[in-house]
Symmetry: C2
Subunit: 204 residues, 2 copies
Amino acid sequence: MGSFSTLTRSFCKFVNMSKSALIILAPGAEEMEFIIAADVLRRAGIKVTVAGLGDSTEPVKCSRDILIVPDTPLSKVASEKFDVVVLPGGLGGSNAMGDSSAVGELLKNQEASGGLIAAICAAPTVLAKHGIASGKSLTSYPSMKAQLVDKYSYVDDKNVVQDGNLITSRGPGTAYNFALKISEELAGKEKAQEVAKGLLLSYD
Amino acid sequence: MGSFSTLTRSFCKFVNMSKSALIILAPGAEEMEFIIAADVLRRAGIKVTVAGLGDSTEPVKCSRDILIVPDTPLSKVASEKFDVVVLPGGLGGSNAMGDSSAVGELLKNQEASGGLIAAICAAPTVLAKHGIASGKSLTSYPSMKAQLVDKYSYVDDKNVVQDGNLITSRGPGTAYNFALKISEELAGKEKAQEVAKGLLLSYD
């Protein structure tokens, strides 16, 4: 039911313990969705690790040809525990994560331990491919809906959807609210609102 | 007066000639503002060159520690002509661009030839330091206002300000509209609206 995990998160927010996020950076990732998540979570005081698929820290070529250097290969941190695992969108990146057994195993462990999983744009299809969070409410980039309606309770009319330990969102234009929602969950609403203010956004 | 340049831009929009953008990536750049500009302009069909300050293509460490690999060192492309020169914000990045004589020379040439210059967040201070666009209307990240009010007609109540060949904007939360405005100027309003729709944003 994840209630112990929820209690733990509430307690950690209360005593202000540092939280951790793993963001997977796959070739073809949508670079705006990736970087908004990483930057906003770091602004919220969350320890962010950027893990490239594969075994090296070679620069990763994103969907619009920007090259980004991951902090670590996924293989080096796959056994560590993170408070949230974040999957940015982009069709190429999502296909690569969907084809990766390492990502599948990581997500299964994250789900089993009651940790947060967050996916945006095309990345909710990664969850479907690895059999994660079946039956939950979620959203995605509109054109991905057909791949998700059978396994999930699909939400069309919200930019960010939370169902227990799953947070999903729709695309680049909703990426700030997606990252702020994750920040709220791990660092509290006040911190999320403070970060939003610094970005010149509002967050209710 | 820039009217020939404006005519040229209108003509190029009409015949759909490929436009070019130079985006400067300096250490300490705000990575969201950088990447939203690069990604959105590429979605609009504009040829984007990412130029790192200095003489190499070593990865550039941005404001929230993301490492991004530039396409080229600025020194290699400084004599080329671009339809727009884009300066992302971030305090460290803006200070580095303000201290760079190469950036100063590039901006002076861009201004003299009637090319577009676009700056967001802390980056309008780079214009002030190099004596660019003096007297024009502009905006910036709110805390930078004091450094700009003497030399410019400062605008507080708009997210994106255009005055002739100068486009300025305020911060990460206004970066999509900033990039869409540049896209509109170089690729036409219809293209900007098409790109916005793909991002799940609207652009009027």
